[in-house]
Subunit: 339 residues, 2 copies
């Protein structure tokens, strides 16, 4: 971040033909984009890319989701064919979609923008023991960081987080509980639609898994014990984006929980984060609060895939465009507020 550019952006906001503060949260976004780019006005993100990290979860065997595990691989094919929500929303805002198999249980065929970087074929069941070894967690982190670096090297100037993994709201709830300190019951939600009995089981799984963590567990240890492969990759993706100096637009609770890991590892990365939306999942609100992020879209979505991040791209662009293109009071000859 560049404090000079942020200061310039705040000063320029005050010159624009509008009452002070009248653009609300978009003014803050314009200041953040200026700080990230080190220039005021900031460049308008022209080439966004969504990386959809896909993985499976051993905890599925504990009955935490009503969806069959093969839906993860099925949705990877849907992403490849361009038929999922994130594909539609990415086309609408001109974003590229890259799918990354970081841990799908079944084989995935590589293809254009379908990268196979499988660390293992799904995690172990976190309700019975560690989801991953420390080495696996680190390997998945590095996959994410490398994807971010590659996308930036290919000219992408705004990175969006995406995810797919049946059962992945359970490790997310664990990460949120472990890293923000909220109770398992607060961190856990109903994911893609679970009934009361499944929900109670899910809360129990989260509670017991988090209780296993050593009080001094470092962020990678937390990730290995109760996380997921896509969560690890997303944490690395956030770090890779921040390291490359590019804003990272987060999707929902999976991304939020992964961002908690990233910021625990490198607090400086927080300055590069934008929250695309607020998911219905209660753990997401806890994560956003901990990260100090205000969501741009708040429409009760709970889909994942990067859908909430893709929806927010026009709002991020609008923030940059307003700062760059609006007339100033002096330039337009408009009188100012008195007193």
């Amino acid at each position: 971040g560049d404090d000079g550019a942020a200061r310039d952006a705040r000063e320029r906001q005050a010159q624009l033909t509008k009452p002070a503060g009248a653009l609300g949260a978009l003014e803050d976004v314009s200041v953040q984009l200026s700080a990230i780019a080190g220039s005021c006005p900031p460049p308008v993100p022209a080439r966004p890319a969504v990386a959809v990290f896909a993985g499976d979860h051993g905890v599925h065997a504990a009955g935490v989701s009503p969806w069959p595990q093969e839906v993860t691989a099925g949705m990877v094919e849907n992403f490849r064919a361009g038929g999922a929500a994130v594909n539609v929303l990415a086309r609408a805002c001109g974003a590229r979609v890259v799918v990354v198999d970081v841990g799908v249980a079944s084989p995935v065929e590589p293809g254009p923008d379908v990268l196979v970087r499988k660390v293992r074929a799904g995690t172990a069941d976190l309700s019975r023991g560690p989801a991953l070894t420390r080495e696996e967690a680190l390997a998945a982190l590095l996959v994410g960081a490398q994807v971010a670096a590659d996308l930036v090297a290919q000219g992408h100037d705004l990175l969006l987080t995406g995810d797919m993994g049946i059962g992945n709201t359970t490790p997310s709830a664990c990460l949120v509980a472990a890293l923000t300190g909220v109770a398992a019951r607060t961190a856990t939600g109903r994911g893609t639609g679970v009934d009361d009995a499944t929900f109670a089981r899910k809360v129990g799984v989260v509670e017991r898994a988090v209780a296993r963590l050593a009080p001094d567990a470092d962020p990678v240890a937390v990730l290995a014990e109760v996380g997921g492969l896509e969560h690890a990759a997303l944490a690395g993706f956030v770090l890779g984006g921040a390291a490359a100096g590019v804003p990272v637009l987060l999707d929902g609770v999976i991304a939020g929980s992964a961002a908690l890991v990233a910021v625990a590892l490198a607090p400086h990365a927080a300055a590069y984060l934008l929250a695309g939306h607020r998911s219905v999942e209660p753990g997401h609100t806890a994560a956003l609060r901990h990260l100090g992020l205000r969501p741009l879209v708040d429409l009760d979505l709970r889909l994942g895939e990067g859908s909430g991040a893709a929806l927010a791209v026009p709002l991020v662009r609008a923030a940059a465009l307003l700062l760059g293109e609006m007339a100033t009071f002096d330039g337009a000859g408009v009188a100012r507020k008195q007193g």
Copy 2:
């Protein structure tokens, strides 16, 4: 509205490759667009137009705003030159901006997309008596309805409300209080930034003006007594858009208060309304609640001009695109939720 198309849209949402309800409020928007168009999936709005109705307010003399009255005319010139926030946001979403002088105090030069339809050069001071005669209120209503009809005839398929008028949050607060029944103190906000003393004065003005209304005053009588020329035109614009079968995307508190008038005159018009955003102005929340509308953007904007409506255009388009372009479970061969 077409109930068959709405039913088709709800059924199609259930077939799309996502958990039921996972697209949140966007699913409701897709159903509403289908009902309005009478087809499922609905057409994606391709040619939006913002009509920015400008007028001045005699109540400015009562000291309800810190901004000089000539800013209204100054901003009309800023709109003409393309330098205002609404111009930037309209360019970003491909919307046309049409400015309509329905009551600016000083002369406005007509020009391309600057229509001079002045009913009178600003309202009378509503703190001392009726703002408009009934005939003037009706004339301004008709200006708005005619602009809507003309824009639809010119091929615009989504109408956005815009407004400019120094002092216009005071008549808005009066309309909200009169038409929703909330107290003047609840309906009144700080507009473009007033201090405590000005705020107290503003609440008093609203309280006394609304108290003058006869208990059986019809919506046009309310508009004439405590409204504004742009409020009247916006009410007509809403009715004209609904009559032409086109969705109307509302901006903030000025549009919300005008929509209350429109819906009081023709309750059926409510089915054509979408709320672009929620303004910081407290009266806007009261108006949205009364209208049963959920705002698409909620980012503490309080600018007017149509800025909040323009920001929401990509979200409205996204709702239509998702319903039209997403794959179905059967089509994509993705397994479904069990039980």
